[in-house]
């Protein structure tokens, strides 16, 4: 019996690994394609068959950070010779860098990137904190109208942004929050709270109440028990919630587009807009996407051990 079992398990394991490999190819293939496009020269960006091996260059990133225009004629050789190496790369692409005086103009990308960081980080911290404590409240205490309140919280996420946008736009205009970081932060917190509360409650419900009760008997206050016992146990939930809230805030497009202008607009509405000079510049869009992906990826990677840890106590289950 045991021998048959282990042969089955070995086969299953191998199939599992094969399936995981397949999944990796399917899910990561397009991402690798986008990422590699960020380092390709313009003419190799869209080729059939897709170019897998090539000499990487960072010209797309140079394009990403500078304000440029299409040139109608080829560049004057004198100008070309006098230009620094990175400007020459731009000339090679048939464009020239816009300058104020003799300083090259930065594109809006760095600003937008910074805005994204500010808005996403702060709104995530707030959404996760508020969500966690609210989830704890619902999980551990009886609240009159609990089911209704929870459903109300859930419903805040149901309205399509395009419809909420106009009244919010007007409301913000009255309060003066238009085109401001704070305005966007508040909006994202409100948007992410429903998910944060529900997910954290889901995790909190899994944590046996017996632990806190034991701690309370031992003399801890309720808040201490929450802090020292429940929160560490909920680390997985907090990590997962933080990751999702951050991703949502990071990539949000509709509100960022409508509610903000020059001052506080984040990157998502900006990145696809590289398609404007009559020809798509896939390499630059890919470069913008690639860089924009890094903070999220790094953040998630740093939290990976928490994400996978799970609630491993399990000694006392309901």
């Amino acid at each position: 019996m045991a021998a048959v079992r282990s042969k089955n398990t070995a086969l299953v394991n191998r199939l599992a690994i094969a399936a995981v490999l397949l999944a990796t190819v399917v899910f990561l293939g397009p991402i690798y394609w986008i990422g590699s496009t960020a380092f390709k020269p313009k003419d190799l960006a869209i080729t059939t068959p897709p170019t897998v091996f090539f000499e990487p260059e960072i010209t797309p990133f140079i394009r990403l950070f500078t304000k440029r225009v299409q040139m109608q004629k080829q560049v004057d050789p004198a100008d070309y010779a006098a230009a620094p190496w990175w400007e020459q790369r731009i000339y090679d692409g048939g464009e020239r860098v816009l300058k104020v005086g003799s300083t090259a103009q930065l594109s809006q990308y760095p600003d937008r990137f910074a805005n994204s960081l500010i808005v996403a980080i702060i709104s995530t911290v707030l959404a996760v904190s508020m969500g966690t404590i609210t989830a704890y409240g619902f999980s551990r205490f009886k609240m009159p109208g609990e089911d209704d309140l929870l459903f109300f919280i859930l419903s805040t996420r149901m309205l399509p942004p395009v419809v909420v946008a106009i009244p919010m736009f007007l409301m913000y205009r009255i309060v003066g929050l238009n085109d401001s970081h704070l305005g966007l932060i508040i909006l994202y917190v409100a948007f992410n709270l429903s998910f944060s509360v529900w997910l954290m409650k889901g995790f909190m419900d899994e944590i046996p109440k017996e632990y806190e009760e034991a701690a309370l008997v031992d003399g801890y206050t309720r808040l201490q028990a929450f802090w020292k016992i429940v929160l560490p146990e909920a680390a997985t939930g907090i990590a997962a919630t933080a990751v999702f809230c951050f991703i949502t805030a990071w990539n949000e497009y509709a509100f960022a587009l409508i509610m903000t202008n020059r001052r506080a607009q984040t990157a998502p509405p900006y990145i696809p807009s590289q398609v404007g000079s009559g020809l798509p510049d896939w390499t630059t869009i890919a470069a913008g996407t690639f860089l924009f992906l890094l903070p999220v990826a790094i953040f998630t990677f740093l939290l990976r051990s928490h994400l996978l840890r799970g609630v491993t106590f399990g000694a006392i289950r309901k």
């Binding site: 990561l28 969500g131 205490f141 409100a190 031992d218 929450f226 990539n251 696809p272 994400l307 491993t312």
Partner: protein
């Protein structure tokens, strides 16, 4: 984490503290933890909800200086008798079913596969989460390229020649759904993994001792314990699927792929038919509320078990 202001007096040194000095009462904590969040949400949702509801009963157009005139249920009636709206709803329903089912199956399946220890598990899991880390607009843009018959790798790799995924009215919607599944399966996968890793080992060991079959283990032990998280994933993905806009709008403009949120956008921002778009938004809201209600009931049932 920030420093708590609670004094950490060793519990061993003080047994049986009197009630009064046991920090805040449970009631106070409960209120403190719940009420600010709820208040915050009420403030930021009530205005748009009332605004939209109010305008849905008028013929207001935000771009005309004429005042709004009350028209009662006319907007709702017009919408519900509009053929195009119904086709939008059916298209959206198809899309939600295909997309969400796909995400759940692929995501949960992946989680089952990954729920074992193997080298670099952390890295692989993080990598598999990458699809959902990109902005929907960018995903739409790049997948448009991927699907392109002239320049895209998909037709090339699968030998599909000239098949135009996004220009073909019959396949456009499914092409978008596939992209959506690609993008959001990792979400379901992560939640499932978190749920799966919460299933205590000793239950599996007990089942193994009892010579339980894989199927039995799966349906009687794994599934019930993962269901709460799965249902949360299902609820949120369904809500989001109904609101899908960015991906579809960037990829295709086929009328057979006109989701309800695209129609809403056109009504609100191209035709500036504010009254009608508010009415449509409420109709969608009611539908989503109804569907979610059913899910939540299941969720509560699952937790009772």
């Amino acid at each position: 984490m920030a420093v708590s202001t609670m004094p950490v007096s060793g519990p061993a040194s003080s047994a049986r503290q009197p009630e009064a000095s046991r920090g805040m009462s449970d009631l106070a904590i409960r209120n403190l933890f719940i009420i600010p969040t709820v208040t915050f949400l009420i403030i930021f949702n009530v205005f748009p909800l009332i605004y939209s509801l109010g305008y849905s009963f008028t013929d207001y157009a935000a771009n005309r200086n004429a005042p709004a005139e009350f028209v009662g249920l006319k907007n709702y009636r017009d919408l519900l008798t509009d053929e195009r709206i119904w086709s939008n709803f059916i298209i959206t329903a198809e899309y939600v079913i295909v997309s969400v089912a796909g995400q759940m199956l692929v995501g949960f399946g992946l989680a089952l596969l990954l729920n074992r220890s193997f080298p670099m598990k952390g890295l692989v899991t993080t990598l598999l989460l990458l699809p959902m880390m990109m902005s929907a607009a960018v995903v739409g843009l790049f997948w448009q390229l991927l699907y392109s018959p002239s320049w895209g790798p998909i037709n090339y790799l699968f030998g599909l020649g000239d098949f135009a995924w996004l220009s073909n009215p019959d396949s456009a919607l499914y092409a978008v759904a596939i992209t959506d599944i690609w993008m959001w399966s990792p979400f379901v996968m992560l939640l499932s993994l978190a749920g799966l890793s919460a299933v205590p080992q000793h239950l599996y060991e007990a089942a193994a001792i009892d010579r339980a079959s894989t199927w039995y283990t799966f349906t009687r032990i794994t599934l019930p314990l993962v269901t709460p998280l799965l249902l949360i994933a299902l609820i949120f993905r369904t809500m989001e699927a109904f609101k899908t806009f960015d991906i579809a709008y960037t990829m295709t403009t086929q009328p057979t792929a006109e989701l309800i949120s695209i129609r809403l956008y056109k009504q609100a921002f191209q035709q500036w038919d504010t009254g009608k778009s508010c009415a449509l938004a409420y109709i969608v809201l009611i539908m989503v509320l109804a569907i979610t209600n059913i899910y939540v009931k299941y969720l509560n049932q699952a937790k009772e078990r």
